[in-house]
Symmetry: D2
Subunit: 140 residues, 4 copies
Amino acid sequence: MTSFVFRRKLTVAWGDCDPAGIVFNPRFFEMFDASSWLLFEAALGVEAHDLTRSYGIVGIALVDAKANFLKPAKFGDTVEIASRVAEFRRSSFDVEHKLTLDGALCVEGSETRVWAVRDKNDPNSIATAPIPKEVMAKFG
Amino acid sequence: MTSFVFRRKLTVAWGDCDPAGIVFNPRFFEMFDASSWLLFEAALGVEAHDLTRSYGIVGIALVDAKANFLKPAKFGDTVEIASRVAEFRRSSFDVEHKLTLDGALCVEGSETRVWAVRDKNDPNSIATAPIPKEVMAKFG
Amino acid sequence: MTSFVFRRKLTVAWGDCDPAGIVFNPRFFEMFDASSWLLFEAALGVEAHDLTRSYGIVGIALVDAKANFLKPAKFGDTVEIASRVAEFRRSSFDVEHKLTLDGALCVEGSETRVWAVRDKNDPNSIATAPIPKEVMAKFG
Amino acid sequence: MTSFVFRRKLTVAWGDCDPAGIVFNPRFFEMFDASSWLLFEAALGVEAHDLTRSYGIVGIALVDAKANFLKPAKFGDTVEIASRVAEFRRSSFDVEHKLTLDGALCVEGSETRVWAVRDKNDPNSIATAPIPKEVMAKFG
């Protein structure tokens, strides 16, 4: 478990919610995706544009995602998302997200992502590459 | 594993895709959510409106969702989603979704849902209720 | 033209963008919708929940929306949205949104909304009601 | 007004709807965007991939969009969208969309789009190009 945690607050919008008046679940996966990018920007101290450019990657591609929905969040709620890398492996890593409302856990999310580059043999395909040591080091 | 399978085809829209030119992953969870509703409509032979009304439920609320992203789908691809209930328990059940492109598996999704009703003691809250036997029977 | 302006900044997420690498246009309408709600919360000094409850309305329902897309915004751009009520009428009003990037106008949006209540004769329908004078007064 | 009309039906999903139980308005702009692409595929007899490739365009970029929301559509409603090109100009054109439920008009949408190519002098920018005569001819 790395020590660098990225936190952000956001207010649930009308359009995030479904007829039950609560956040439509796939929106949480969108929030987690955005938080993963912001986590990397914050940890590495680069902007999103430079993240892909300076490391020569296509992105931090998602291969697996899951979430537990424990308590609903509704229109107007200001929630907090705390995100961190749970584990770095050679070319993949896990990100954990905890979404809370007034300190109570609402959604627990987890993603497995890969360090994705263009395939040298087929530029239309994506391959994985080893995560640079200096990248991992930034997460503590 | 129940035997009733609901299949539908859909064509990936421009707006479903991200800057990598492939479906933005949270969209798959939206597709699976829609397929779960359509699966119940098809199995029970009722329309969505009547599904909630005639069974006195708020919905089939999601408590857990996960997906593996094996192969990307891109703008214009016509994919097929096959959905079925993997297991019924007292008041919860699991739905499995397989999204394929030309027969090749792209995304495997799985949801745990509950049969959700208004809480008798607190109409602003949601409680679970036993799934009617005749509902389960319709899935084979 | 009222004088109260609500401004907020937001960073374009990966999932807001399409295969051209720029914000998928319907996302701007989502951003404007959220800004309209936040504008009302800020001007009236109430939370979204209380907005609907304390004024006995269903919402500020959209009847007309349009936008001009002048310059694209892309992944990682931090844009500003400035929103104000352009005109109040008896039971409807216009909201103007200007989305800028580094001071340059990217999108101009405009919405016509109505002060929406439950229809007394048909609780499943929506009717319009006169906008309270004290509501209008808060916008300057 | 061209004579070629593209029609499709779709069923409103749970996740398309907001806490008022009706389609969240920006979703209509997503539906219209998808219909515009499908209109071009149908009229030109090519797939989306080939549309961009064979004509050497980046896309049919949106510069202006508007919609009137006359009647709401709700979860489970099967609506029809009829789309046609209202006018072709040198390098831009207007698309009209009518979304109906049981024959009653719910939403009227209109888009202005341009035939968009990569800028020869700046491959990161987009320029407009004349719409080929044979393209216009296919719309009748």
